[in-house]
């Protein structure tokens, strides 16, 4: 079985709505190269609806598919509808994402929301949390996890150079 679902592969191979919007009403950028993935979303708003949604993405296959799916889900939606898009709903529409991709590559909803917040701020409204990306994941680190976390740098002692 391939790592990615058919849906993910479809969006990766044929990403929808790639690009930038000149004079966008809102722009949202999340991630950074340390984290591994970066997305910039652009929105055009008309009558409280996302008339157009575009993005640029630096990142793995999942990140690209996520961006594409988010753009499709958001395009034509009302601001309120678009704000309800979550990493979970995106993953679901993509017919699942590999566990280790869920955290870090699933930044699309966040980037979209940041673009919406940007638009709201410009027109006067709410402030968003700064993008928070787990730089270590690949593995959920919960109390109930049966797995040793030794391999995860977050739990590793630092090695000093001489």
């Amino acid at each position: 079985m391939p790592v990615y679902s058919e849906k993910v592969m479809d969006h990766f191979m044929h990403p929808r709505n790639v690009g930038e919007i000149e004079n966008a009403d809102g722009v949202g950028e999340v991630g950074n190269p340390v984290c591994g993935d970066m997305m910039t979303f652009y929105i055009k708003v008309k009558d409280n609806r996302l008339e157009d949604v575009k993005y640029k993405t630096f990142g793995c296959g999942a990140a690209i598919a996520v961006s594409s799916m988010v753009s499709e889900m958001a395009k034509g939606a009302t601001i309120e509808e678009a704000q309800k898009i979550t990493p979970e709903s995106v993953a679901k529409m993509l017919e699942g994402l590999p566990k280790q991709k869920f955290h870090c590559s699933n930044l699309g909803a966040q980037a979209l929301n940041k673009a919406i917040d940007d638009y709201l701020a410009k027109t006067g409204k709410l402030k968003a949390d700064p993008a928070k990306c787990c730089p270590f994941c690949d593995h959920e680190d919960s109390e109930n996890d049966p797995v040793c976390q030794q391999g995860c740098p977050v739990n590793q002692p630092e090695i000093k150079s001489p």
């Binding site: 990766f12 191979m13 990403p15 790639v18 930038e20 950028e29 950074n32 190269p33 340390v34 984290c35 591994g36 993935d37 970066m38 997305m39 910039t40 640029k56 993405t57 630096f58 990142g59 793995c60 296959g61 999942a62 990140a63 690209i64 280790q100 991709k101 955290h103 870090c104 590559s105 787990c134 730089p135 270590f136 994941c137 690949d138 593995h139 030794q150 391999g151 995860c152 740098p153 590793q156 002692p157 090695i159 000093k160 150079s161 001489p162």
Partner: protein, 401 residues
């Protein structure tokens, strides 16, 4: 569809001769080499023949210095943990390089949890360790220096013979992870001057599950796998005879064909190393151009990330690896590239082609044809690339180093 497999460092096919040599031990000669009855005879003989073949590949003084294990990772764990613990009374300090494989990196971290201190020697932009830095890192309580022979991600071959002059002078046990070199380039433990060496079978067309640790006679090591008397009490557990036989046979063939293979693979490699940067702007070859593994070509493609390239190459029938974040557990750029001075952004765009004896120059032609549109397509989507394009001319140099 064209199929071009260029990911031999991830997995290599078995040689037919190796496969054949293994077959009896999967069938008729299933016995246990420790058995005193007749069923033990054939496996016992085969085991010792494989030991001699493996010893010959690395110029070991005696076959008994070879201990069979189940993977390069096990050999590295065994060496780092077993050689340190055997010298507990002497001290608790270990020296490694900054670009070791995870199996060495995480083994020293294990030792750190047991109270050991670790010093990491840096590398230069081509991935070389400076022997002087090793010298500086050594302390009176140093019990082990572990520096790999060649790095699997960037292919750079370390000056082990120079480093071993220092470890010999200071009487410190010197282990090398030679998983990437054994069977691929000439490896002679005497010339290298090391005390312990890890190797694995698959990189030279032996079976998975086959590997070994060589430990020079006179050097003490504690077992990693405690238990019965197999491997002279140094590595317990019923032997996987078929895998061991496969390792021995592959070693024999590798020793015979080493020079031929090396020449052929170096040629093919250089087609790609020279070709890719001339076809695509802002592609950096990582590692050294000369002192590198034959059949190993590694790059960083600026402004985009490795997995996307890998997947689009796959859609064209080409199999490669990426050292980039998404392919490993930690979603971080390769510690090897970062240690060599690349920034995160560049390091995320790494791509690794490893060729095998079945590859032909035409395979490289194919790759050189399909790569440019793939890179263009991903750059078109990349916010990093748009920033670069929009930036005032001259404002950004080579972002790499």
């Amino acid at each position: 569809m064209t199929h071009v497999y260029l990911d031999h460092s991830a997995a290599a096919p078995l040689l037919p001769e190796v496969r054949e040599a293994m077959t009896p031990y999967l069938d008729r000669d299933f016995g246990n080499p420790l058995s005193l009855h007749d069923w033990g005879d054939a496996p016992r003989d085969a085991l010792e023949e494989a030991r001699a073949q493996t010893a010959a590949l690395i110029g070991a003084g005696s076959p008994e210095e070879i201990i069979f294990t189940s993977s390069g990772t096990e050999s590295n764990n065994f060496a780092v943990k077993g050689l340190s613990l055997a010298q507990q009374k002497k001290g608790k300090h270990i020296v490694i390089s900054a670009i070791e494989h995870f199996s060495v990196m995480n083994s020293v971290k294990f030792m750190q949890n047991l109270g050991y201190e670790i010093s990491e020697v840096p590398v230069d932009k081509n991935g070389f360790v400076d022997p002087e830095d090793v010298k500086k890192a050594i302390r009176p309580d140093t019990v082990l220096v572990s520096i790999m022979h060649a790095n699997g991600e960037v292919g750079t071959i370390q000056p082990l013979a120079e480093i071993s002059k220092i470890t010999k002078e200071k009487k410190i046990v010197f282990h090398t992870d030679a998983v990437a070199t054994c069977g691929t380039i000439p490896v002679n433990v005497k010339e290298l001057g090391v005390d312990a060496l890890s190797l694995a079978g698959n990189p030279f067309y032996g079976p998975k599950g086959s590997a070994a640790l060589w430990v020079r006679r006179g050097v003490r090591i504690l077992p990693l796998l405690d238990g019965g008397i197999q491997e002279g009490g140094r590595r317990a557990g019923t032997e996987d005879i078929a895998a061991i036989i496969g390792l021995g046979k592959a070693a024999e063939i590798a020793l015979r064909d080493l020079v031929d293979r090396g020449q052929k693979l170096t040629q093919i490699r250089d087609l790609l190393i020279n070709g890719l940067p001339s076809k695509i702007p802002r592609v950096v070859v990582t590692g050294d151009l000369k002192k590198r593994l034959p059949g190993h070509a590694s790059f960083c493609v600026e402004f985009i990330e490795g997995e996307g390239m890998l997947m689009l190459l796959n859609s064209q029938g080409v199999a490669v690896s990426s050292g980039s974040s998404c392919t490993s557990r930690a979603l971080k750029a390769s510690h090897v590239l970062l240690a060599m001075g690349y920034n995160h952004e560049i390091a995320q765009g790494s791509l690794l082609f490893t060729m095998g004896i079945q590859n032909k120059p035409e395979d490289i032609d194919y790759v050189l044809n399909v790569m440019p549109p793939i890179v263009d397509r991903l750059r078109e989507m990349s916010p990093v690339y748009s920033k670069f394009v929009k930036a005032p001319k001259g404002g950004q140099g080579n972002a790499g180093i």
